[in-house]
């Protein structure tokens, strides 16, 4: 069955083509159904393959599709690799992807252009599957750029609005900055190891010493790619803007799957990163700074999707910290749990926006608990999961990161713990303001309030269930039960970092973080519900640091002033001053000189171009011949 893994990307590709070709002729229910069915079929095949891989003693299998680029000793087959890492990603992409497709049928039912939407969604799944299935870096890169394209198309799905188009363009270009790093990393991989296929590269790398310069450079370059795709400092500003896309897109692409591609890439290359402690340290630091930085911005955002977007940036930072300290399996565990609860939160937010007739500002929500009971309960579960309350999914994965980081560096642990506190604060702020208190929207919105159709609530319920029990796949060591996740992955991790805490410390970490979150829940409840403190509706009321936070540290403005504007200035300056002012003038000037001479000679020539050419040719031949004779 494993040899049939090519079916997995094939179904969504067919779905894309069928929906794309029939386009407007399809009713919304049918285009949604075709799209969902194709992903469901991929999910079924993935489950079957998972069962085979799951068996003891299974080995990674390569599936050759065809020779893609073969030049000299550079050999890039279009081939897939099925191993324990790729099957987990397959299950997440097709599983969560399927739920989001189903949800979209309800969410997009009033959209005219639904066929375009579903075809893009299927195309995205295709490229995402390519990304995780590829058996070499180039196939991964193909998927990598492909998902970037789909992200561009879907962020700018409503292309009538300039702002959305700008967001889409920004996402693509920022990702391309990262992609150049990725590409250079691939070139260096090829020059260092003579191959770009994972198996050959990693086998060859195992013979290199720790801290080898080439491997350090490779891992840093690859990480530049990961920074772009997974929205880490300094290439993160596209992700909050990407919320311009329809909400299911935010859930699928900008929370659950595409943005975790950078983490997948580092885990895939864990052999290289293990051999490059310097790069790993940088990964950890960038992740850490991003985690806390994005979390602080999240505190002052009032757009429900923007809060979740900054939260995603921050959670991705967590995962990079885990990667940096060498806890690759823990990072993947968090990827999967995050896919559950963040998709849930985004879809919940979508359900809220749907009910609020498009309103996204939490200052104009409130008291939605009664009107949207299913959305409310599932959103609460998502909030508890991301805040890390026992026994929800986030508790286990986040706690594991915290304890591993504690064993690595207590200082980083403190920063990360602080970030956890911020996470709980902004998430519960969001939760209380949206679902508690009194309704603050317009009268029209109030009468329109309704729970979403079952195509939307069913995915919410399933994701809520997964966010509740998913964490038990990775039980902390103190419970003395097998850590299913880590054991499953052990064969793909090259050298497991020794990051175990004494039981007492681990219990302390767990207890400490749990107590902290409970305190925060109580405090935020007092603040936002009992005292009913509202975020300022008038920007002018914000003072000092709060103002800086609400303006996201002015990073967009800084980038614009330091990068975009100077480049545009340089371009128009060189066009006016160098291109037209110097180069073209010299060219024309020499033309005029010739013109002057030829106007004197005109009297002795016929004036036809042909004669000139003939004369010149003959003259030069004569000149050369003369010099040779002498």
């Amino acid at each position: 069955m494993i040899q049939l893994a090519w079916l997995i990307p094939l179904f969504p590709l067919l779905g894309f083509l069928v929906i794309g070709m029939l386009n407007k002729r399809l009713p919304v229910s049918l285009s949604g159904a075709i799209a969902s069915l194709s992903v469901f079929l991929s999910f079924v095949v993935s489950v079957i393959i998972f069962n085979e891989i799951h068996q003891v003693g299974s080995v990674p299998e390569r599936i050759l599709m065809f020779d893609w680029i073969n030049v000299g000793d550079l050999n890039i087959p279009f081939s897939f690799l099925i191993d324990r890492l790729s099957v987990i990603m397959l299950l997440v992409i097709t599983g969560v992807g399927f739920l989001i497709h189903v949800y979209s049928i309800g969410y997009m039912q009033h959209e005219q252009d639904h066929s375009r939407f579903f075809s893009y969604l299927n195309l995205f799944i295709f490229f995402m599957l390519l990304l995780v299935l590829g058996a070499n870096y180039i196939v991964m890169f193909a998927g990598w750029e492909g998902v970037g394209l789909c992200s561009y198309l879907l962020i700018g799905f409503w292309f009538k609005y300039t702002e959305y188009n700008n967001a889409a363009k920004k996402a693509f270009i920022m990702n391309r900055i990262g992609d150049l790093g990725f590409l250079l990393g691939i070139f260096l991989i090829y020059t260092t190891f003579g191959s770009v296929s994972y198996q050959e590269v990693f086998n060859a790398a195992k013979g290199f010493p720790d801290g080898d310069a080439a491997i350090t450079a490779i891992t840093l370059l690859l990480f530049v790619g990961a920074m772009g795709k997974s929205a880490q400092i300094p290439l993160y500003t596209w992700l909050p803007d990407a919320m311009a896309g329809p909400t299911p897109v935010s859930a699928l692409i900008h929370a659950a799957t595409m943005v975790t591609a950078g983490i997948y890439m580092v885990i895939r290359s864990n052999v290289l990163y293990t051999l490059a402690p310097y790069s790993s340290e940088i990964v950890a630091i960038v992740g850490l700074v991003t985690a806390v930085f994005a979390a602080t911005i999240g505190l002052k955002q009032n757009d429900i999707k923007k809060v979740l977007a900054y939260s995603t940036v921050s959670q991705l930072g967590y995962m990079f910290v885990a990667l940096g300290v060498g806890a690759y399996d823990t990072a993947l565990f968090h990827v999967v749990m995050h896919a559950f609860f963040k998709a849930l939160l985004f879809l919940g937010a979508g359900s809220v926006i749907h009910a609020m007739s498009g309103e996204q500002d939490i200052r104009y929500m409130g008291g939605l608990k009664k009107k949207l009971p299913i959305t409310h309960i599932t959103f609460l579960i998502g909030t508890l999961a991301i805040a890390g309350v026992f026994p929800f999914a986030g508790f286990f994965s986040k706690d594991e990161i915290l304890s591993k980081v504690y064993a690595f560096s207590p200082f980083m642990f403190v920063v990360l713990m602080f970030t956890s506190a911020l996470t709980a604060i902004y998430m519960f702020r969001l939760y209380w303001l949206t679902f508690y208190g009194s309704f603050r929207g317009t009268e029209q919105q109030r009468t329109h309030l309704h729970e979403s159709p079952s195509s939307m609530t069913m995915p919410l319920i399933i994701l809520a269930l997964l966010s509740t029990i998913g964490g038990f796949l990775g039980m902390p060591e103190v419970f003395h039960v097998p850590h299913y996740f880590s054991e499953f992955l052990s064969s793909i991790i090259y050298r497991k970092a020794e990051l175990t805490l004494p039981e007492s410390s681990e219990l302390m970490v767990m207890g400490g973080s749990l107590t902290m979150v409970v305190l925060i829940i109580i405090m935020t409840y007092n603040h936002y519900v009992k005292k009913a403190v509202m975020p300022e509706t008038n920007e002018g009321e914000l003072r000092g640091f709060q103002k800086v936070l609400s303006h996201k540290y002015y990073i967009d403005e800084i980038y614009s002033a330091l990068i975009t504007k100077p480049i545009d200035w340089l371009a128009s300056f060189s066009y006016k001053r160098i291109e037209l002012g110097v180069i073209d003038r010299i060219v024309n000037g020499s033309g005029y000189i010739l013109n002057g001479i030829s106007s004197l000679l005109r009297y002795v020539q016929t004036g036809s171009i042909g004669t000139y050419v003939f004369g010149m040719v003959i003259g030069i031949i004569l000149l050369v011949a003369l010099t040779m004779i002498h």
């Binding site: 000299g72 009538k160 270009i173």
Partner: protein, 484 residues
Amino acid sequence: MLTLLLLFIPLIASPLCAVISRDKVKYFALVVSLLQLAAIVYAFTLFKSDIANQFGVNYWWIQSLGIAFKAGFDGISILMVALTNFLIPLIILSSFRNENENPKAFYGLILFMQFALVGVFTALDGFLFYVFWELALIPIYFICLMWGGKDKVRITLKFFIYTLAGSLLMLVGLIYLYLQTPGIHTFDIQSFYNVTLTPEAQGWLFWAFFIAFAIKIPIFPLHTWQPDTYTDAPTQGTMLLSGIMLKMGLYGMIRWMLPIVPIGINEWGHFAMILCVISIVYSSLMAFVQKDFKRLIAYSSIAHVGLIAAGILSLNIQGLQGAMIQMLSHGVNVVGMFFIVDIIQRKMKTRNLAELGGLANNSPIFTILFMIVLLASIALPLTNGFVGEFLLLNGIYQYNAWIAACAGLTVILGSVYMLRAYQAIMLGEPNAKYTEFTGLSKIEKIILVSIVSVIFITGIYPKPIFMVAQPALEDILVHIKDIY
């Protein structure tokens, strides 16, 4: 004999255009060009990639001067002729809607151009090569002069003198080589390959050839004729220039420069390489500020061909294979792009980005096809542009990592100006002025769908192209490796 057939079909058909009635001549030209396409497809069925001079002809032309009519095919030639013969029918087809004052001359010149181009790509005698090189200039000169835009006389003259100056330098180089051949002098390419030259001679020969080719390609700072000419020429002229004719310069570098002056390249290649990289970055920046979409594509083309030239100068098989496949891809993509410009110009009566917008509302099929051509030109994987760009950058990386990093900026800059232009033209509110723009005509669909098919086929399965080119490119590299 096949070589003669491929040369003489367009040569004989070209004057015949004069005697065919005005409204039939375009069909005649199309049929001839399709015949040419069929002939090259037939050539592929007979072609063996590991034999150097196939379907060759060799007659004395001016025996006393050692000038022969020697022409034939290897893997490089056949691909270049395939590109020519694939694009010319599309170019002819793209003109079907034009209200042409003098169609007989127009199609006659295009077919004559095809004759000259096939000659350039197959000639194996230095003098013959030069003759074809100059012959190719004549029809395009008249096409630009007779059917060009407002400023056609000044711009065309500039273009003509510029390229002529370059090719005279090449002629000097060829004659010098001729005089260095041992015994009875000859223009035969094999003798040129075997000639022994002093390092100084190789140095200045390198510059003579490089400048001649760099003007044609063009490479910074010899490029200023190009944006003017591309913008002002009629669409078919621009397609001929950008799709096929500039490849003469790149082809010349591979066939007539690398094997002949390897020491000169060793000495000066770094310098030329840096010019190529400046060309890439500089013209990308120029594309940033263009308001005229046609001019923007003209600048983007300089960036793309600069990368190809840099790949050739990297002197390794990845760079050369990348150059080969990117010459084909760039030819196809840029013709697609200029055709899109033409469609917009014809329907909207403007190419000014500031005046356009919202066309995606009008025609989904046009939007999709435009998008795909755009993605190919910014080298998205699974399109033809990626295969070429990846190999080129990889080849340059092996030459020098820092130069590759600078050349790689095209990955970012290209997406910036292309997406900006796409947004300005296609996205935004529907524009009430453009209600008459609905869908594409059958001819427009045929042209764009052919181009898009090639984009995907080459992008997904480029292997046949590599196999055809590999032995010929290795032969070229052998001459270089001998020196080191």
